[in-house]
């Protein structure tokens, strides 16, 4: 009797258990939202809000250190009637092509080389990725030295094979090629590793079947490897296109820290143009207009890429 009295009533136990399990259930239901909340809150504050606010600021006259006044589309009128903007757009495009196309082709070849059974696998892979670990600033400072007109290693090597010294800093195409080579150096190994991973996920029996059909190495590459890599290639094209639209540090430091991108803007990219307008001239409203145009450009580029890929998929 005393024993039963010292215990709580069964109903009380049940109620307590029920409350605890309801608490547990509530905790379990809300936990996922608690875990993902920091990401979305921080993204909203420092990613989404700035992006949207860029559009709003682009409609204002807004000088560094003063307040904004609404001017409608004046910044865009100024932008689209400004030859410097078209120059930056063109230079972003040419440097983008000069850096992206060789980079991805070299990466494809390099991945093919790495896709062998060999000694020193880890050494080669780490060596290919070392440039990726190097910062834009450090890489550009070293390359500026290598590309120096009078005492650079590259002009000296060119001299050995009988080529006259190239003025890498002041020539228009020369400077763009020099800047592109920095980008190629930093990113080729990274892309090669991504291609390599894609190659290694292609089923081996496809190669065996191709070999049985008498396909040689090149035919196997053309008809098995390339189709198998298509999604990976699309991924790298999208990523490097977006990267190419953002080029900033290389031309900035290559030009000795000036945002003009060379005396005649030979290598002024949109990123540099944005920085020059916003933080050297102090026209933040105009800088916001440039940023918004860059954003639309990226959306268009990604959509075009996706559409091309889909059409190729359908025709394949």
């Amino acid at each position: 009797m005393t024993l039963t009295l010292s215990r709580p009533e069964p109903a009380v136990v049940n109620r307590r258990r029920a409350r605890r399990s309801r608490l547990h259930a509530f905790e379990a239901r809300s936990a996922p939202y608690v875990y993902i909340a920091p990401f979305f809150l921080l993204f909203a504050a420092f990613g989404l809000f700035p992006l949207i606010d860029t559009a709003w600021i682009s409609l204002h006259r807004y000088r560094l250190g003063s307040s904004m006044s609404f001017i409608g589309l004046d910044n865009f009128v100024w932008l689209f009637t400004n030859p410097a903007f078209y120059n930056a757009l063109l230079k972003t495009f040419t440097i983008g092509v000069l850096s992206t196309v060789p980079q991805l082709l070299l990466a494809l070849g390099l991945a093919h080389l790495l896709n062998h059974r060999m000694r020193g696998r880890t050494f080669f892979r780490v060596a290919m990725l070392m440039p990726y670990a190097t910062s834009v600033a450090a890489a550009t400072l070293v390359f500026a030295q290598l590309f120096s007109r009078d005492a650079g290693l590259i002009n000296w090597l060119l001299g050995v094979v009988g080529v006259n010294p190239v003025d890498w800093r002041n020539g228009s195409w020369a400077a763009q090629i020099a800047i592109s080579s920095i980008i190629i150096w930093r990113w080729t190994g990274y892309n090669a590793l991504i291609y390599l991973a894609g190659m290694q996920s292609i089923p081996q029996d496809l190669y065996e079947a191709a070999a049985l059909d008498g396909a040689n190495g090149w035919q196997q590459f053309r008809h098995v490897t390339l189709p198998g890599l298509r999604p990976t290639i699309l991924f790298t094209i999208v990523v490097s296109t977006i990267g190419a639209s953002q080029v900033f540090g290389e031309p900035l430091i290559f030009g000795g820290g000036a945002a003009e991108g060379g005396a005649l803007g030979q290598y002024q990219t949109l990123g540099l143009f944005l920085y020059q307008q916003g933080w050297q001239i102090g026209q933040l409203g105009r800088a916001a207009a440039v940023a918004w145009v860059m954003f639309l450009l990226i959306v268009v580029l990604v959509l075009v890429n996706a559409a091309l890929a889909r059409r190729r998929e359908r025709s394949a």
Partner: protein
Amino acid sequence: MSVFVPRARGLLVAGPRTYAALVATAFVFLLPFYYLVVAASRPMAEMAQSPPPLTPGPLLFSNIAKALDQQNIGLALVNSLVVAGVVTLSTVLLCTLAGYAFAKLGFRGRGPLFALAVGTMMIPPSLGVVPLYSLMVALGLAGSLASVILPSLVAAFGVFFMRQYLVQALPDELLDAAKVDGATALRTVWSVVLPIARPGMAVLGMLTFMTAWNDFFWPVIALDTTNPTVQVALAALGGGYVPDTGVIMAGTLVGTLPVVVVFLLLGRQIVGGIVAGAVKA
């Protein structure tokens, strides 16, 4: 991270031509590092000669000492360590939590929210710099390390990466067992999820540290040379205020060394992480 399980069975064996091509490529990829050491250890006058010197000289340490006095390189190293350290800790922790939720917890809106998170990877952060700058000025943070730390506290890539990792590394049975034992959600994270996530967190941590250390566009806007990170200081070094190329190169060497050392020690894992993150994209 067993991405590199060799599939040697049908793989071609490398011949001399493959080795020759790989050695030549590795030479080109590593040459700038060697040349950095050469240029950092020579007096400027020698670097201005043609042909340029091809072997390291005697001035490495005196050039480094001079570089540390220039452009606050010493302070920049400390600042970069603080920024990259805080960013790495926060990113790894927050991305692991979010990645776990997306990988293993059923909740309403999981699919669309994950797609949204991955989609944000496509937006280059540099496009929002104007409002970000006004925001930092309004908060009184312009020029402070907080202004470069805050926007990098979490990364969509990390959420994606940890989700992919935990989907395959964390067995559902373990989570069920924890539930049967009456573990709270927090307790499950602490005793079950985190221990299993650790290898993935380590790789994400290294990648994040590298990215944070090398971050350029926003720090150049938000900070100035009185309180710089390494990259801001290097940009200033290249800005022509220091005419001695040996000193510029020595500063570059000092600013690059920390990541390169991390990379040489853990390159294998970083390579695996990059590949694992990309394969499933």
